[in-house]
Amino acid sequence: MKNRFLLLAFSLFLAGIGAVSAQSNKISFEEYDLDNGLHVILHQDKSTPIVTVSVMYHVGSKNENPERTGFAHFFEHLMFEGTQNIPRGEYSNFVERAGGTLNANTSNDRTYYYEILPSNQLELGLWLESERMLHAKVDSIGIQTQKKVVIEEKKQTVDSRPYGTLFQETMKRAFKVHPYRWTVIGDPDHIRAAKDEEFQQFYKEFYVPNNAALVIAGDIEIESAKELINKYFAEIPKGNKDIYRPTMVEPDLGGEVRDTIFDNIQLPLIVQAYRTPAMGTDDYYALDMLSTLLSGGQSSRLYKSLVDEQQKALEAGSFAMPFQDPSVALAYALPNMGVDCADLEAAIDVEVSKVREELISEKEFQKLRNQFENSFVKSNVKLASRAENLATNYVYFDNTNLINTELDKYMAVTREDIKRVANKYLVEDNRVVLYYLPKSQQN
C-alpha cells in the first residue's frame, strides 16, 4: 500500500518536471533577402568580441549528376584555392593572420563554409566569402591539385579504413532511386573523368546568391553589418540557370535487404539500417528519440544489454543521419570474441522487439527527455553552432525560427508515440542488414 503511494508521488513529481517550460531563452535574429536572392540572417550577441561569417550553399551530394558523384565535396576543396583577388593558397592565411579560424564541410544536402574572427574583422570575412561567391578560381591548376587530394582522401577515409565503406554499402542498398544512394565522397572515377568545364558549370549553377544563406552572428551592429553586406554581396549577380533539386521519392524498401561484406578487418560488425521519415516530420522526432533510447551512447539499451550485461558485444552504437529527405537510422554492433554474428543480431532484435511491444517506463522516458533537452541546449551554446543551426533551419525548412521551437517538437513526443513509430518503422521489411566479416572468412 505504502509502496503504491510512493510510486504515485514519484510519477507526479516527474510530471511536474516535465511541465516546466522547455526553453525560455529565445535566440533572436533578423533575416531578409538581397535583390540577387541571397538570404541574410543576422544574429547579434555582443557578449564575446567575435563574429562568425558563414555561408551555407544549398548543394550537397544529392544535387549531383549520378555520373559525376563527389562534385559537391570536391568544391568544398576547390573553394580554398583562391579567387580573382586572392592568390592561390592564401585564402586561409588571411584568416589566420587576423587571429581567426575557418573551415568547411559537405553533407548530402548542403555545403557549409565559415570563419570565426575577432569582431573588428567582420569586413575581412565578408570580403573573403563574397570573393568566393563572385569569382572563385575554378581553373585547371586548382582542379588538378584538388583531384589528387580528394582521391587520396577517399583512399584514406574509405578504402583503407576498417569499415570505411559502411555508409557506401548501406546507402546503396537502402536507396534505389533517390541520390542518397551514393555517398558524399563519391566515385573517384567520376572526379577523374570530369572536365574543367563541368566544374565551371557546377559553380555557375550552385554557387550563386539565390542558392545560399549568409549568416553573420556575434558582436555586430545590425545596421552597419547590413551596409557592409550590401557593399560586398549586392553586386554579385543572381544565377541565371535552373538549380537542380532532386524530387524523386524513394519507394518502400519492399522487404528486408541482407548482405555480407568481406573487408580487411579483424572484428566482424553488424549494421542495421531502418528507413526513416524526413527531418522535420512528427514521426522523425519520435524516431530520433527512439534510436537514442536504443543505441545512443553508453546508457542506451543496446549498449547496456549487449555490452554490459550479456557481454555479447564489444561495442554498440549508432550514427545520426539527419537528412533533409527520408533517410535511415543506422545502428551497429561489434561482436565480442567468440560470439557469433547471428547470435548477436538475435540479441539486438530482442531489444528492438521490446520497444515495439512495451511502453518505455516513465523514468526512462524522463531521462530520455532530459538527454534531448540537454543536447539541444548545448547545441546552441557556441556562437558557431548557433550560426550553423540558423542556416540549416532556413536552408532545409525555410523556417529559421525552428532554432527556438524544435525542442517543443521533441517534448511533444509521448511514450505512446515512441511505441507507435517502433511498430511502424523498426520492422524487418523496412531494414538493411549488413554483416562485415574479415576477408579471411570468405569462401
Binding site: I50, A98, N120
Partner: protein, 685 residues
C-alpha cells in the same frame, strides 16, 4: 580609332569598379573591439563564503564552481594524498554510493567533478536544485570508501610504472626536485612509497581541514539572477561550517648562479627530450604579464612563425617542434624551452635555443612579427570568452590576485599597446639562460660529453626518475659481458640444472584494462612454445611455435606467422638462450653501471642474430636479470622481473611487469612446473 575606344572603355570600367569597391586588397580591421565581459556581482555569506554571480542568459544552464583559495601544502611522505582526497569526494557519501551519485547526475544530464581545490557542477537551470542537493551532499558528507582509495592507489601506481620510462615524466620530476627542492610544495614528487602510505584518515583530515567556506569562492555562472543566486547560496551553503584554515609561507627557491647541466637515462632512446628551464618571479596580473606573454609567443609560442620553431624545425630539421612557455604563478613562475631532438644534435639544439633567447635580448623584433602575434592572441582570447567558465575564472582572478576591476575588459587594449621596445625589455628581464637548468633525457653515453660546454665548471650530473643523483659506480676493470652472463646462468641455477630442464609450464594471471586474464605458457626443448590466454575460463587466443612454423589462433581465425615475425618467434622460443648465446650468434656489449629501482645493476646491449637490440639489466648483487628494454616502431617496451623463486633447482621470476607506451600490466605466475608431461598436441601447427 577602334583601339582608343577600347582603351577608354577599359579606363571607364576600371574607374567604375574603383568607385564601387576595391576588391583587390583585403579590408582593414576596425578598432580593437572592447570586450564585454559579464560583470560579476559579489556577496558574502555569514560563514565567510564569497559568492560571485555572472549572469549569462544565452542558454538555460547554470554552473557552480567552488574554489578553495588555500596555500599549497607540503605532503611529505604521503605525497599525492590531497589529489586523491579531491578525486574521491564524489565517490560516495554517507547516504549515497558512487553508483547512486553517478546515476543521479546522469539522469538530469548534469556534470559534477571534484578536485583537491574545489568542485564544479553544471546542469540545466531547471535541474539546479537537484544538482545542488547532490553537490552539497558530496561537499558535506563525503565518506571516502576504503575500496575507492584502494582503486585510486592502484591506478596511481600503474601510472607511476609507465612514467618511469616516459622521458617527459622523468624530466618533470628532475625539474621539480632540482628547481624547487624537496621541501617546497612544487618540488614534491609521487613515489610508490608515498602513494602506498596514504590512508583514509589522511583524506578525511585533508577534507576537514581545507574544505571550509571561509577560504572558498563560489562562482555561479549562467541563466540566474543575483536574487535567485542569493537565495540558493543561502539555502545550500549557509550551513557549511567555517573553521580556521592553516596558511603557509615559502621562501622563493634559490636559483642557479650559473647553468646547471643534468642528464637522465632513457634506455633504448634515439631522441633526447631537452629542456632549458628556470624559476621566474612573475605573479598573475603583474604589469609585465601581458608583455611577457607576447614576448614568449614570438620566441616559442605555438605558431608556425615562432622563432624556435623556425630555427630548430624549419631551418635545422632537428625536431618536429620546439616551443617555449613563460607562466605566471603566485608562488613561483616558470620559463621553459624544450623539444624532442635526435640524440646527435642534443647539444646543438641547446645552442640554438640559447642563441634565440640572446637574440630576443639584444635585437628589436620586427613590427610585422609583433602584429601577427598580437592578432593571434586577440583571436584566441576573444574566442575563449565564449566559454562561461572563462568569464568565471576572470572574476575569480580579479578577486584572488587583487587585479583592477577592468583588467580583462581592457586586456585587448593592453595587448595592442605592446611595443617592440617592450618586447626587448621583457626579454632582458625574463630570458636568462645563464641561470637555467639544462636537462636532457635520453641516451646518456651518446650525449653527455657534448653538454659539458654549457656548464661553467664542465660538470654534467646524472639524475634518476626520483630526482636523486646517480653516483658513478665504477665497474671492475676486468668485467666483460660474458662474465655478466655467466654470473646470471649461475644465479638461476647453473648449467647442470638448466640442462636437466626438458620443459616447463607457467600459469599466471594479469589484469588488462580492468579485465582479468589468465595465461598458460608451455615451453619444451629445444624451442617449442605455446602461449594460451583465457578470459573467464574461455580460451581467447593461442600462439604456437613448433621449432619451424608458427601460428596465432584467435576468434577471428587462424593466422600463419611468416617473415620477420617468424624469425623473432624462433629466437624468443629458445629455452634459456643465455646458455647458447655464442652458438646462436648473439652479440653482447657491456654498457656500464646503472640503477634500477634502487638496485645497482650492470647494463648489457644484447643483439639477436636477426639484429634486434635489447638493453638488459643484471643485478650486481644477485646476478639475476631485473629488467629488459627494447624499442620497436610501436614504442619502447620495458619488462621488469621480480620475486625469483626456485623450482627444481632453477630460479624463475614470479612477477613480471611490462610497460608499452602509456600502458603497463603485471603478470603473476602462481604455478611454475618443471619437467611435467606436456601433451604433445599443444605444439601442433
Amino acid at each position: 580609332m577602334k583601339k582608343s575606344v577600347i582603351f577608354i572603355l577599359a579606363l571607364l570600367v576600371a574607374f567604375n569598379i574603383n568607385a564601387q569597391l576595391d576588391r583587390s586588397t583585403p579590408p582593414k580591421p576596425g578598432p580593437a573591439p572592447k570586450v564585454n565581459i559579464g560583470k560579476a556581482q559579489t556577496f558574502e555569506l555569514k560563514n565567510g563564503l564569497k559568492v560571485f554571480v555572472v549572469e549569462n542568459d544565452k542558454v538555460p544552464v547554470v554552473s557552480y564552481t567552488l574554489s578553495l583559495d588555500i596555500d599549497p601544502i607540503v605532503e611529505g611522505e604521503k605525497a599525492g594524498y590531497s589529489s586523491i582526497a579531491g578525486d574521491l569526494m564524489g565517490s560516495g557519501t554517507s547516504t549515497r554510493s558512487k553508483a547512486q551519485i553517478d546515476e543521479a547526475v546522469d539522469f538530469i544530464g548534469a556534470t559534477l567533478n571534484t578536485s583537491s581545490k574545489g568542485m564544479y557542477a553544471s546542469s540545466l537551470k531547471k535541474h539546479s536544485d537537484e544538482l545542488l542537493n547532490l553537490m552539497t551532499d558530496v561537499l558535506y558528507n563525503p565518506s571516502f570508501p576504503a575500496e575507492e582509495l584502494e582503486k585510486a592507489q592502484k591506478q596511481m601506481l600503474t601510472g607511476l610504472k609507465s612514467q618511469k620510462d616516459d622521458p617527459k615524466a622523468i624530466a618533470s620530476n628532475i625539474k621539480s626536485v632540482l628547481r624547487f627542492g624537496k621541501d617546497h610544495p612544487y618540488g614534491e614528487i609521487l613515489t610508490e612509497a608515498s602513494v602506498e602510505a596514504i590512508t583514509v584518515d589522511d583524506l578525511k583530515s585533508y577534507y576537514n581541514t581545507y574544505f571550509r567556506p571561509n577560504v572558498a569562492y563560489l562562482v555561479i555562472v549562467g541563466d540566474i539572477s543575483v536574487k535567485e543566486a542569493k537565495k540558493q547560496a543561502k539555502k545550500y551553503f549557509a550551513q557549511w561550517e567555517s573553521k580556521e584554515v592553516p596558511t603557509y609561507k615559502y621562501e622563493f627557491p634559490a636559483g642557479f648562479e650559473t647553468p646547471k647541466v643534468v642528464v637522465a637515462n632513457k634506455d633504448g632512446s634515439t631522441q633526447s627530450t631537452i629542456s632549458l628551464s628556470y624559476n621566474v618571479d612573475l605573479k598573475p596580473g603583474h604589469p609585465d604579464a601581458i608583455k611577457a606573454r607576447v614576448m614568449n609567443s614570438i620566441l616559442g609560442g605555438g605558431s608556425f612563425s615562432a622563432r624556435l620553431f623556425q630555427n630548430l624545425r624549419e631551418d635545422k630539421a632537428f625536431t618536429y617542434g620546439a616551443y617555449s612557455s613563460l607562466s605566471s604563478d603566485e608562488l613561483v613562475g616558470t620559463f621553459n624551452a624544450g623539444a624532442n631532438v635526435r640524440t646527435s644534435v642534443t647539444d646543438s639544439a641547446f645552442t640554438e635555443i640559447i642563441y634565440e633567447m640572446e637574440r630576443m635580448r639584444t635585437e628589436l623584433v620586427e613590427e610585422a612579427n609583433l602584429q601577427l602575434v598580437k592578432n593571434s592572441l586577440t583571436g584566441s582570447f576573444s574566442r575563449s570568452l565564449e566559454d562561461p567558465a572563462t568569464v568565471a575564472r576572470f572574476a575569480l582572478n580579479i578577486e584572488k590576485y587583487n587585479l583592477p576591476a577592468d583588467y580583462y575588459e581592457t586586456y585587448l587594449e593592453k595587448l595592442n599597446a605592446v611595443s617592440t621596445a617592450d618586447i626587448k625589455a621583457m626579454a632582458e628581464k625574463y630570458l636568462t639562460p645563464d641561470n637555467a637548468l639544462i636537462l636532457a633525457v635520453g641516451d646518456v653515453p651518446n650525449m653527455r660529453a657534448s653538454l659539458k660546454k654549457f656548464a661553467k665548471d664542465g660538470k654534467v650530473e646524472m639524475y634518476d626518475f626520483y630526482g636523486n643523483m646517480v653516483k658513478a659506480m665504477p665497474l671492475p676493470a676486468d668485467l666483460t659481458a660474458e662474465k655478466v652472463i655467466n654470473k646470471y646462468i649461475k644465479a638461476i641455477g647453473g648449467t647442470e640444472a638448466i640442462a636437466a630442464v626438458d620443459n616447463y609450464i607457467l600459469e599466471g594471471t594479469m589484469n588488462v584494462q580492468g579485465m582479468p586474464l589468465s595465461m598458460k605458457m608451455y615451453s619444451r626443448r629445444p624451442n617449442h612454445q605455446c602461449v594460451e590466454t583465457y578470459m573467464q575460463g574461455n580460451l581467447v587466443s593461442k600462439q604456437v611455435f613448433n621449432g619451424e612454423a608458427g601460428k596465432v589462433v584467435s576468434p577471428m581465425g587462424e593466422q600463419k606467422i611468416e617473415g620477420e615475425m617468424l624469425e623473432n618467434m624462433k629466437a624468443e622460443s629458445v629455452m634459456f638462450p643465455e646458455t647458447q648465446y655464442a652458438e646462436l650468434g648473439y652479440q653482447l656489449e657491456l654498457l656500464g653501471a646503472d640503477n634500477v629501482d634502487g638496485q645497482d645493476v650492470v647494463k648489457l646491449k644484447v643483439i639477436s642474430p636477426s639484429g634486434k637490440e635489447q638493453t638488459v639489466f643484471y643485478s650486481r648483487n644477485t646476478g639475476l636479470k631485473v629488467k629488459e628494454v627494447s624499442t620497436s616502431p610501436q614504442g619502447t617496451m620495458a619488462s621488469t622481473y621480480t620475486e625469483y623463486a626456485e623450482v627444481n633447482g632453477i630460479k624463475f621470476p614470479k612477477k613480471m611487469s611490462q610497460a608499452v607506451g602509456p600502458q603497463s600490466f603485471d603478470i603473476t605466475f602462481e604455478s611454475i612446473k618443471v619437467n611435467e608431461d606436456i601433451d604433445a598436441s599443444k605444439f601442433d601447427i
